[in-house]
Structures are given as C-alpha cells and as structure tokens.
C-alpha cells in the first residue's frame, strides 16, 4: 500500500460500505475504549478469583456456613441464556410466518443470540473454580442424567452451533454483494460469501435452507431453555425450586428478556448506524406485541406460582414466601413485579391507542430486563438461604465487588463483540434493490 493510494482508497471505502463499516468514528472509539476498560476490570477480578479461589466472592456454603453456594454468576448465567431466545424467535417469525417487517432486525437478533450464549457459557465457567478441568471432564465423563448436562450440550453446543450456522447462512447474500466492491474487508467478504453469487436458484436454495433450519431450531430452543429450568425445577430437596412450572416459566421469561433486549439493541443500532428508514416503527411495534404476549403469560405464571406456594403453605415454603413477599428479598421481588407490570402497562397503552413510540417501547424493553434479572436472582438465591429443611438458621448472601465486576465485564465483552461486528459487517441486512 503506497502513501498516494491511501486517500483515494479511503474515499472508495466511504462510498462502498454502508452503515459506517470500516470507519472509526470518535464516538465508536470512546465506546470501544470504555467497554474494553470495563472488560479489563472484569478480567482482573476474575484473575483474583482464579488465583485465590472462590473465597474472594460473597458466596459460601449452604447449611452450617449460612450462605448461598450459587450466587450472581448462576443468576446471570440463567439470564444470559434467556436473552438468547430473541434471535431464533425473530428468525422463525420471519421465515415461517413470513412477517417481513421484522427482516431488518433479524440479524441483530441472531447476533444477540450468539453473543448472549457465549456470555452465558462464560458466566457458568466463571462460577467454576477449575474451568479447564470442567471442559476436559465434561467431555470425558459427562452424564446425561444431570440437568446440567443440557446446559453444556443442548444449550452451549447445539443451540450456539445452530445459531452460528443460521447467522452465517442468512449473512451470505450481503457478503456476496459487498465482495463485489473494493474495500478493506473485500477478502473477508469473499471468504464469507464462499462462492455465493445471489443468483435466483441460489436464493431459492437459501430460502429453503433457512426455513428448515428455523423450523429445526425452534424445538431446540424450547428444549434448551427448559433444561435450564430443570436445573432448578427437578430438585425436590430445595423448596421454591421444585415444580412443574419451572421449565415453562424459564422459557417464557427467556422470551421476555430476549425480546426486551432485542428491542433495546435494535433502537441503539438504528440510532448508531443511521438506519431510521430501514428499521421502521412497524418493526418495533411487532416486537412490542410479541413482548406483551410473553409478558402477560409470565405475569400469569407468577400469580399462579405465588398463589400455589402461599395457599398450600408448607412450613418451609411459608418461610420462603415470607422472605420474598415481606422479608429480606421483598424489595427485589416487588421491584421486579413493579417493573414488569409498568412495562406491560406501557405496551398495553400503546396497543390500545395504536400509537407506537420507539422511546416507550425501548423503556418497556429496559423495564422487563430489570425485572428479568431480579427474578433470576430470586430463583437462585432465596431457596438456598431461606429454605433449609433441617434446623439451620437463616442464611444470607450479598454479592461482592468481584462478582459484580465479572458480571459487568461480561456485559462489556458482549457490547464489544456487537460493536466490532457492526464495524466489519452490515448489522442491518442490505436492501434487495442494491
């Protein structure tokens, strides 16, 4: 590359690549630096944990140690896996029900699925003292009878792999289009396109492949999110966990947090890449209706669950529900309920008036995620501290800065992955007419 060629090359790139790909704006650099800094803090906290043992976290043993042995990491592992719901659902709606209005947000959803599954895997690895041993022993000695097995096979291997394939197959057309123009990433696009030239016959094959792939991933999605629910729902020895509603509840709350996240991310992408004409209010309205349906289902599940536990009122269940409804965890529980209900009210109001505002839909997306995180925490922790069947005194658990730093580091890492993707590949699919 000669020095004279540089300005000209920059010029062609500006013209060639849409959505600001390859151009490092000051805003993006600030974003990148901030996220990299938070990720670095998380990695430092994780380093402290690996060198000193999990003693540096706020977690302690159940029973005589009066702690919670699963804490923030497991709560966020469940949350991240839940968020992955978004991508495939949107893809399925587009491919199977032909809701074309959602097409511009499809890739955002697929990317969100892949990123959140990676974060979920990292969160559960952060919870293990010996992650390297976990990888080796799970491959060598994995037992399908353990509900955790589903996490490592169904979720992290199967679901993540299928989602990656789906993301790739649906991205090939854009890679082929971009590979025709000279640009910094031309070689990359050529490799990604892998011979795809967007001919009519290839398009038909592609459409069929994505249709069947979407159809195949839907049962995988239900099974994967259910296995996470089974991790808790099958444990008869832990009041508050055992129950048949746990698995479907996990699937539905996964949908709520996943679609909520997709709404927020799509709004941010729309603003950052200046694609207001592509991602329309209609697309947001569709996502909002989907979110509302899932949210109402989840609120119904919550009522059923609370009613069952308080009405039957076994001794330990009563201790637990007292802690949730009026005791130690009441502020988290009612905080979650208030955010979920306000999100529902916001969405219902817009549905009734038929006036959809992206700002309000974004607010609903943010509120349901606050509620989802709180509910995940409440599933994991109180049953350990307040539901002992033998006369152990009540325990307590407060996550400390190490755990928060690792979790925030994971969020920042996810933002980094999405941010880098946006600078390399069009996150909003290119229009047909280009």
């Amino acid at each position: 590359m000669t020095t004279e060629a540089m300005p000209q090359r920059e010029h062609t790139q500006d013209a060639a690549l849409p959505q600001g790909i390859g151009r490092l704006t000051p805003g993006w650099i600030v974003f990148f630096a901030a996220m990299a800094a938070v990720t670095a803090i998380g990695m430092y906290a994780y380093f402290l944990q690996v060198t000193n043992g999990l003693i540096v976290t706020g977690m302690r043993g159940l029973g005589t140690m009066l702690g919670a042995t699963w804490g923030l990491y497991v709560a966020y592992y469940v949350y991240f896996i839940g968020v992955s719901f978004a991508g495939i659902t949107v893809a399925a709606l587009i491919r199977i029900f032909r809701i074309t209005k959602l097409e511009p947000v499809a890739r955002i959803g697929e990317l969100l699925t892949v990123v959140s599954l990676i974060l979920g895997a990292l969160a559960i690895m952060a919870d293990l003292e010996k992650p390297w041993r976990a990888v080796v022993n799970l491959i060598q000695y994995g037992r399908p009878q353990s509900p955790f097995f589903g996490t490592f096979t169904m979720v992290i291997a199967g679901y993540l792999f299928a989602s990656l394939i789906y993301l790739y197959v649906t991205s090939r057309r854009d890679a082929a289009i971009l590979a025709e123009q000279p640009s910094r990433f031309q070689k990359l696009y050529r490799i990604l396109a892998a011979g795809y030239e967007d001919t009519p016959s290839q398009r038909i094959i592609d459409r069929r492949a994505t249709f069947w792939l979407a159809l195949a991933i839907i049962p995988l999605l239900v099974i994967a999110h259910s296995t996470v629910g089974f991790v808790f729902g099958l444990q008869v020895g832990r009041p508050g966990w055992f129950g048949a509603l746990q698995a479907p509840g996990f699937v539905v709350l996964a949908g709520v947090s996943g679609i909520g996240n997709l709404i927020m991310l799509a709004a941010i992408v729309r603003w950052a890449t200046n694609t207001r004409d592509r991602i329309t209010v209609d697309a947001f309205a569709w996502l909002a209706k989907l979110l509302l349906g899932l949210l109402i289902t989840y609120l119904y599940f919550t009522v059923v669950e609370v009613l069952t536990v308080t009405y039957q009122a076994g001794e330990v269940e009563r201790t637990l529900s007292d802690a949730l409804l009026t005791g130690t965890y009441a502020w988290i529980f009612w905080g979650a309920i208030v955010s979920l209900i306000s999100a529902a009210v916001l969405l219902i109001w817009q549905a009734v008036t038929r006036k959809w505002s992206i700002g309000l839909i974004f607010a609903a997306g943010a509120l349901v995620n606050v509620g989802a995180v709180a509910k995940r925490y409440l599933i994991v922790v109180p049953s350990q501290t307040h539901a002992q069947l033998l006369p152990y005194p009540t325990g307590s658990y407060t996550p400390n800065w190490i755990e928060w730093a690792v979790v925030l580091g994971l969020f920042a890492l996810g933002a980094l992955m999405i941010g880098v993707f946006m600078k390399v590949f069009p996150i909003v699919p290119l229009e047909e007419a280009e």
Binding site: G61, E315, L390
Partner: protein
Amino acid sequence: MAKYAMAVDLDRCQGCRGCMEACKIENNTPQAVFWMYVFRTETGEYPDTKMSFLPRPCQHCNNPPCVKVCPVGARFRREDGIVLTDPERCIGCRYCEVACPYGVNYYNWRKPDAAFGAYDMDYSDPDVAAVTGGVIPSYKNPDLDLLQGDEQRLTAGGAHSVGVMEKCTFCVHRVDKGLNPACVDVCPVHALHFGDIEDPESPVSVYLRERSSFKLLDELGTDPSVIYVGGAPPGSETREIERPLTEVRS
C-alpha cells in the same frame, strides 16, 4: 456385599460433639467444615423449653439426589451404600450442594492448607509443640489418599484441594479395614452404631430391631442409610440455639 448403615440414638445423644471432633481429627477437615455436625436445638417457649440434639453425618442416601445431579459422575454411590466424591473428577459446580436437602456438602472455598492454622493457635508454643510433636500444621492422615473399594477410586477423604466438593465418607478408609467410622468409636454414650444392615446379627441391625426409628426427611424419597432411634424429627418449631465457629475467613 455388605450394606452399611448407621443408627443414631437420639435418646442417648448428649450433644457433646465428640463425634465432630473425632471426625475433624480423623479426616483433617479444614476450619468451619463439619462432615459430622451436631445440632443443639430447642423447642417451646420459655420456661417450657425442651433441648435436644441431632447428629447429622452425610445420610448416605440409597436414592442420593447429589449423585443424580453430578454432571461428571464425581459423586458416586458404592454398592455397599457409601456415597463418595472423586476429588479429581469434581469440577466444583456445587450442584450436589444445592441438591442435597440435608446440607452435608462442604466446598473448599479457599486453599485449605492455610485454613488449618486458622484456629488461633500458636503451633510454635512449646506447650502446643509438646503435644503435636511439631507436626501441625498440617498433619495428614495418609490413609485418606488411598484408592478405595472395587472401583479403586479416590474418595475425597481429606483430599482438601481448593475448588472441589467434600463430605462425610462414613470413614471409608476405616470401614474397608473392618473398623467403625471415627465418630462411632469415639461416642462416649454409644449413641452411634454402625454396621451391615443386611446382616441380622450386626450391631446396627440388632439395635434397630428393638426400637422404633425414623429417617430424616424420608418424605423426599432419598432413603437415607442413617436411621434415627428415639427422639423426634426436627419440626418447624425446632431452632438451633448454639453453634460452633462456622465462618470461613478469607
């Protein structure tokens, strides 16, 4: 094949916690770790209160929830009913701990070598050294590292490596030699009895034959091998009134 069981006589137990001490010495467990634990509990309102004691070793369930949930088979149940942990296979996910309704699992939150010295004892003190022979910290029972049983597996008997789960082993290293678990032999009032429950003449079978008994949280279907004689199962009014130091210091 023998089928081991323990009978705990709650009418005899006086809550001296000698069994807890014997377990710590036999298995060299770190600070705040009690493979054998004795609840000292109280029921009723003052002045009509009643004090009772409940020894809680691992229940060595015949349908063990911890074995079911272990994703790598590190927690296993031998044919003779003893439930053990392979510390080299354990990945430290702590699923067994949340699955166990009895709270018998202890995770090694820190490097236990350092924890041995955490009893606020000065081991260089001549009076202390006269007793310890300068060995502590930390003496380690060499039997604990042996491979046990037909499976020839490690049992987490005092392996104490950071980041893995451990619990009561019924002193498998002693049982395989034909001895009783340390807690049983040490009990000054013979509240603990151990033996082959399928042998009608074993001490535990003879003891259980004469008395009515119950198992802890039997309704959960775990089918424990620890059987309680006399006394009553803890109820919702039972509260713990005194406990040893159970805080792991960082």
